[in-house]
């Protein structure tokens, strides 16, 4: 029950993109086409779950015992960057189709602040190992949900007559704002 609550909280109430506003760069950059949005969502879920778990392990088993909590940021970034590289090599060898599908987005996740943000949030909220795992998955799923919803909206906007000054990124930002407001309806659920 606790984990279901956590999943609902991370996907809807505290949606990483639309409630916490982390990782907005890929949110705007990769949402022009549903296909790439879905690819990015899968890549983020994959990396975020692994990063959340590994950084939790590093924090709890390495940094805390030696009282090195102040090294959290640099250690997490190092781990995330290496992890993404590793995942990229692994996918290229074992799942070339998925690798080709994710394309440029996989290396881009290295610099995605949503990934780092979730790792830090897990620590700040003093989650345990399982909680970190579930929360990481929930946040990543929320990222994917928001991205895919947004991509659907943007594909519809392409068909609409948008005034020239508002075209492309401008209308996307307005849409993101409206989408974010709609996610505020989940506030107070959990």
């Amino acid at each position: 029950m606790e984990y279901i609550e956590l999943i609902v909280a991370t996907i809807f109430v505290n949606n990483i993109l639309l409630a916490q506003f982390l990782g907005n760069c890929p949110f705007l950059g990769t949402s022009k086409k549903m296909e790439t949005a879905a690819g990015m969502a899968m890549a983020v879920i994959f990396v975020l779950v692994m990063a959340g778990v590994i950084t939790w392990v590093i924090y709890a088993w390495l940094l805390v015992p030696y009282k090195l909590e102040f090294l959290r940021t640099i250690a997490f970034i190092l781990v995330i960057a290496s992890l993404v590289q590793f995942v990229e090599m692994f996918l290229k060898k074992s799942m070339p189709a998925l690798y080709a599908g994710l394309g440029i987005f996989l290396p881009l996740i290295t610099t995605n602040c949503a990934v780092f943000g979730v790792c830090v949030l897990n620590i700040d909220k003093e989650f345990g190992f399982m909680q970190s795992l579930v929360a990481s998955f929930g946040y990543a799923a929320g990222f994917g949900l928001a991205l895919i919803l947004f991509a659907g909206v943007r594909e519809r906007i392409l068909l609409a007559r948008v005034p020239k000054p508002l075209q492309d990124t401008s209308i996307a930002l307005v849409t993101a704002g409206v989408l974010s407001l709609s996610f505020y309806a989940f506030r107070g659920m959990v």
Partner: protein, 442 residues
């Protein structure tokens, strides 16, 4: 402190070791040419080639799906380097340039005083612009603002002028023009095109068999830019001296001024004027050609068709070599059109033009002994058995004879001879001067 350094070193080392092991374990063979090709591409990831980026373009080149010259941002040297990596012919990386076809500008009067936003896009929404010409340039310069290479400037007459040397052919200007006046094409795309009925062209230009941009060259003559006018004509028709004299000018029949209770503009006379101007100026205006290729072609016959063929092939960077019987150029008016006022030094002038272009000429004895034709005869595939016709003559000999005939050297003399059929061996035989190239058309 020491512990912090050690821990960070430990994490870094662990990550490094894992990654280096992974790079061996998960090694995937990739064609080494891909990275070599990518090195020579511009690296701008502009997408101008139609692929997602330089990496994707490199993969496409290595897989043979794209030619080595697809990169629009890199120079022709990169295409040669890439072709070297791939071991293929670089082909001709022809530059694409923007062209503004509208030279109306301020000549079109205004319908109303416009006080809105200073952009073509805004103005086009208000009755299609302030100028009475609804299809022409509005002169607000959206293309100038769109150009990232400083290649377009507003000309003195209210329409933008493109600097061909600065233009890289990115197409930004063409995409912002609300009237779709600008087009970004390569030279062969512009040369190898025919006017279509549904194109909104001036009636004279639509009627001209050579599809010369008549409004443009008349305007340039008015401006005193004779070189520009010559080059505009030459863009479609290399024989402007000849055509300025003999063209039946169907364009003038359709001239709008003739409809409006006035006489048609003497389009052909203007052409003749600029052609003579160039000839008398003693120099030949250069015209742009595609980058050199090592392709060669032999052209049999130096008549108007052969000369035109050579001209356009040369502009497409294929070097022609003539095989012809006459030492003079038949395409010259002095030779082909024995009209008394034809400048005789024309032919030497023409020869000079061609020699500066590196055109080669082999004078062969006569049509009948040119080997391909002899081969045809031997195989009983004779396209015309004129060799056996009594009283045969060749067109250049015939025309030359007329032009040399003093006092009678004129078109009318030629026509009267034809009428009397004195040049033809018999009434039902094929007219000899129709063999080969008809001299009166281009």
């Amino acid at each position: 402190m020491v512990i912090a350094i050690l821990v960070m070193l430990g994490i870094g080392a662990a990550c490094g070791i894992i990654l280096s092991v992974a790079s061996k374990v998960f090694y995937v063979y990739e064609d080494p040419r891909i990275s070599q090709v990518e090195y020579f591409l511009a690296g701008a990831n502009c997408g101008g080639c139609g692929f997602a980026g330089c990496g994707a373009a490199a993969v496409a080149i290595v897989e043979g799906k794209a030619s080595p010259g697809i990169c629009v941002a890199a120079d022709s040297e990169s295409a040669i380097n890439i072709a070297g990596v791939m071991g293929v012919d670089p082909g001709t990386a022809e530059p694409i340039k923007s062209l503004n076809t509208c030279s109306g500008g301020d000549r079109a009067v205004d319908k109303f005083i416009y006080n809105g936003a200073m952009s073509c896009a805004a103005m086009a929404t208000l009755y299609g612009g302030k100028r009475v010409c609804s299809i022409g340039c509005m002169g607000m310069g959206d293309c100038i603002k769109a150009c990232k290479f400083d290649a377009i400037h507003m000309g003195p007459h209210g329409f933008p002028v493109i600097d061909e040397f600065k233009c890289v052919g990115c197409g930004a200007c063409a995409s912002v023009c609300p009237k779709n006046l600008l087009s970004v094409k390569s030279m062969s795309q512009r040369l190898l095109v025919f006017n279509e009925e549904d194109q909104a062209l001036a009636p004279c230009q639509q009627t001209c068999p050579a599809e010369i941009d008549i409004p443009k060259y008349i305007h340039l003559i008015k401006e005193g830019d004779y070189e520009g006018a010559v080059n505009t004509i030459r863009e479609r028709n290399p024989l402007l001296l000849s055509c300025g004299r003999v063209c039946p000018h169907p364009c003038e029949n359709y001239c709008r001024r003739a409809i409006e209770d006035d006489e048609a503009v003497s389009i052909n006379q203007l052409k003749r004027f600029v052609a003579d101007y160039e000839m008398n100026s003693g120099r030949r205006y250069p015209i742009s050609c595609a980058p050199d290729t090592d392709k060669r072609v032999a052209i049999i016959g130096g008549g108007p068709a052969g000369v035109s063929c050579a001209y356009f092939l040369r502009r497409l960077a294929i070097i022609p070599r003539f095989m012809k019987t006459c030492p003079n150029w038949v395409a010259s008016p002095a030779m082909a059109f024995p009209n008394t006022d034809c400048p005789t030094r024309f032919s030497t002038g023409k020869s000079r033009v061609f020699s500066t272009w590196g055109l080669m000429c082999t004078t062969t004895p006569a049509w009948g002994v040119i080997s391909p034709f002899r081969a045809c005869e031997k195989k009983a595939m004779t396209p015309f058995s004129w060799a056996s016709v009594p009283g045969r003559t060749t067109n250049w000999a015939f025309l030359g004879r007329i032009s040399r005939a003093s006092g009678r050297g004129s078109i009318s003399c030629l026509q009267s001879r034809i009428r009397r059929k004195s040049a033809f061996p018999s009434a039902n035989a094929r007219p000899l001067w129709a063999v080969g190239t008809p001299p009166l058309t281009v």
